[in-house]
Symmetry: C2
Subunit: 353 residues, 2 copies
C-alpha cells in the first residue's frame, strides 16, 4: 500500500530515516563506551523498542509503570529504568509485580518515596534497585545538592529491600557535571556504590562524553527529530522521520490554508520560534507557517509560498514535539520509500499511571 492510499490525518514514521538515526546515535555511544538507554516515551511502541535493543541499547527508560508494563509484557525485561518517584500502594503493588518479571530500577528524590519503596520491596521479599535523582538544570524533580543526595543514599543503603544503584539527572548538558562529581565524591568517601550514573536529553546527546562520570544516557527524540531539533540543526528535514500526513480541507482566502490536523492530531504543543508560534513544519511548503490550531483544524499561513496548496492536496507535517504527538495516536504507520511496511499499535499511549 502506498502512503497516498492512507486516509488522513495519519501518523507515519519513515523507516530509512529512523534506522539511520538509530544507527548514528548508537555508534556515538558505542564509541564513547557509554550505555544508551532509549526513552520509549517518544515512540511508545514495542516494535521500535525491540529495534533499539537489537541495535545495542543496554535497556530502556520508561517514565511511568504503565509504560514499563507494556515493554515487559512485550518481551523486554532485561533492564528497565523508571526515572520517576513511585508513590502509593496501588503503584507499589504493580511495581513489585513488574520487578518479578523484569530487572527494574527506579528513581527517587525524597525519603518519603524511598521509605515507600523499601516497605513494598521488603514485604514482597524483593530487592529493588534505586537511583537518586539529582537536580541538573530542569528545575523539576531531583535533590538540589550533593549533600542531600548522600543522605538519601545512606537511607537507601540502610533500609531493607533496596539496592543503591547510583544517580541520574535530566537534562545533563556539560555544565551539569559538578553535581555528579560532588555526589560521587561523597558516595565514594561513604563507601556507597554508584554503578549507574545516568544522563539524558537529546539536546546534548553528542556531548555526553564531556561528563566522563556518565555510565549511560537516556534519549528519546533522537530517532525521529522534530521541529525544535530541525531549527537547532540537530536533524535535517530528511532525518525528521515522524510525519503527520494531512489534507488541505479549506482555502478560504488566498493567504490561508486549513489542514485536517489540529491539536487532536498534532498535540497542543506550540513551539515559539523566530518566525512566531509553530505547530509543525510542512515539508512540501517550507515557507508556510503552521501558526495555530483548533482541535481538528490546522491553521497555516501560505502567503509567503510562491506556489500555494489546493484543496484536497496532501502534505507531510513534522511535529514540533514528537512525544505528545505520538500520544494522540493509536497507530504508527511505518513506511519505506513511500510504501507501508508495517502498522504498529502505540501500546504505551495513554499509560499515565
Amino acid at each position: 500500500m502506498h502512503i497516498d492510499e492512507l486516509d488522513t490525518p495519519v501518523l507515519t514514521v519513515d523507516l530509512d530515516a529512523l534506522e539511520a538515526n538509530l544507527d548514528r546515535y548508537q555508534r556515538y555511544y558505542d564509541e564513547h563506551k557509554i550505555g544508551l538507554r532509549p526513552h520509549i516515551k517518544t515512540h511508545k511502541t514495542l516494535a521500535i523498542a525491540h529495534m533499539q535493543m537489537k541495535a545495542g541499547a543496554i535497556g530502556l527508560t520508561c517514565q511511568k509503570i504503565g509504560e514499563a508494563e507494556v515493554m515487559a509484557g512485550g518481551g523486554i525485561t532485561s533492564d528497565l529504568l523508571i526515572p520517576y518517584n513511585i508513590l502509593g500502594q496501588q503503584k507499589l503493588d504493580r511495581l513489585m509485580a513488574l520487578a518479578r518479571q523484569a530487572h527494574v530500577t527506579v528513581a527517587a528524590d525524597s525519603d518519603v518515596v524511598v521509605r515507600g519503596l523499601s516497605a513494598a520491596a521488603h514485604a514482597a521479599g524483593l530487592t529493588l534497585g534505586v537511583v537518586i535523582e539529582v537536580e541538573t538544570g530542569s528545575n523539576r524533580t531531583g535533590v538540589p545538592t550533593a549533600e542531600e543526595a548522600l543522605q538519601l543514599a545512606q537511607l537507601i543503603d540502610k533500609l531493607p529491600g533496596l539496592e543503591m544503584r547510583g544517580l541520574m539527572g535530566y537534562p545533563t548538558p556539560p555544565e551539569a557535571r559538578p553535581i555528579f562529581q560532588q555526589t560521587i565524591d561523597l558516595l565514594d568517601r561513604a563507601g556507597l556504590p554508584h554503578p549507574i550514573v545516568s544522563g539524558g536529553g537529546t539536546r546534548c546527546a553528542f556531548q555526553a562524553h564531556e561528563i566522563p562520570e556518565l555510565t549511560e544516557y537516556r534519549i528519546g527524540e533522537h530517532i525521529v527529530g522534530g521541529v525544535g531539533h530541525l531549527l537547532a540543526g540537530r536533524h535535517t528535514v530528511e532525518q525528521c522521520a515522524l510525519r503527520v500526513i494531512a489534507t488541505v480541507v479549506s482555502r478560504p482566502v488566498d493567504g490561508r490554508a486549513v489542514l485536517d490536523c489540529g491539536s487532536k492530531t498534532m498535540s497542543a504543543t506550540i513551539l515559539q520560534t523566530e518566525n512566531g508560534p509553530s505547530i509543525g513544519h510542512i515539508v512540501e511548503y517550507p515557507d508556510a507557517r503552521f501558526y495555530s490550531f483548533s482541535e481538528e483544524h490546522g491553521h497555516v499561513d501560505v502567503s509567503a509560498c510562491a506556489r500555494k496548496p489546493v484543496i484536497g492536496e496532501r502534505v507531510q507535517v513534522i511535529p514540533v514535539h514528537p512525544c505528545p504527538c505520538v500520544n494522540e495516536h493509536d497507530e504508527l504507520i511505518a513506511v519505506r520509500k513511500g510504501q507501508v511496511e508495517a502498522i504498529w499499535p502505540i501500546y504505551a499511549r495513554g499509560k499515565i499511571r
Copy 2:
C-alpha cells in the same frame, strides 16, 4: 468506591456540577427558543451525549466522521451535524454509510467540497444535507462574504444528491450578526432555503439571542468549564466539573511541588493568564501556580501558598481546556459527593478521521 481510592492521575467529572451546567444552559436555550446542539468534542463519551439528548438537545455536533460514527453506533441517530469539510473517497464512503443510519448534515466552504459531497451522495442514491460555513471571526474556515455563500448555495441547490440546509459559523458573538443577515437576505432573494442558522462557542453562549437569526447553537465546554471560563467568570470553581486528581510526587525545594500529571494527562495546552502561563487550577491550593509541565510531571510554584502540599498528598486540578485534556484519557470517572458512580469509556477519543 471513594475517589480517594482511585489511583492517580485520573480524570473525573462531578455529576452534580455537570447536571447543573447542563440544566442551566438548556434552560437558556429553551427560554429563547433556540435549539441547543451540544458539541461532543468536549466529553467524547456516549453517556454524556445521551444525558444531553434527554435534557432537550435537538441533536449533536461531531467534528469528524469518526466522532459521529461513535455517536450513531451508540444509539444517537436523530440529528448529527458534522461542521467540517469532508474530502476524499474513504471519508465520503464512510459518510454515506453514516447517512444511511443517521440524519446527517455536513458543512462546506468550497465548491471542491460541495462537488465531492454531491458525487458521493448521488452515486449512493442519498440526499445529504449541507450547511454553508461562513467566516464569523475565527479566521479559520468559512467563506468570507455573503456573496460567496450565495454562490455556494446556488451550487448546492443545483447539484444532485444535496439539500441546502442553511448556514453556520464559529464563533458567533453578537458582532457576527451582519454576515448572517446579509447571507440570509441574498438567499431569500434567490429563493434558497436556510432552515438551519447555526451559531457556536461557549464564550458567547448566553448572547445567542442577540442574533435573532440563529435557529440553533453549538457549545461543548459549558458542561464542565475550565480555567479560561473560571477566569472570565463564566464558571465558578464548583461549576468546573472536570478535574484531574493528581498526587504530589516531589517537593525538591520549598517553593516547588511536582505533580504526577504532565502534558500526557493535562494535554499540552498552556493558557497565558495575567499571572503567567497556566496548565491548570489547583482547587485545594488556589494560590499555587501550575506553570509548566513535562510529559509526566506537573511543575507547580507553591511559594505563595500559606500551607504547602506534602509529598503523597492528592489534589484536584481543573484543566485549562477540557477538550484536549479529555482526549488524553481512555476513561472518565463520574463521581457524586466523592463517590464513584460510573466509569465511562471515552469512545470518541482519538477519532481524528
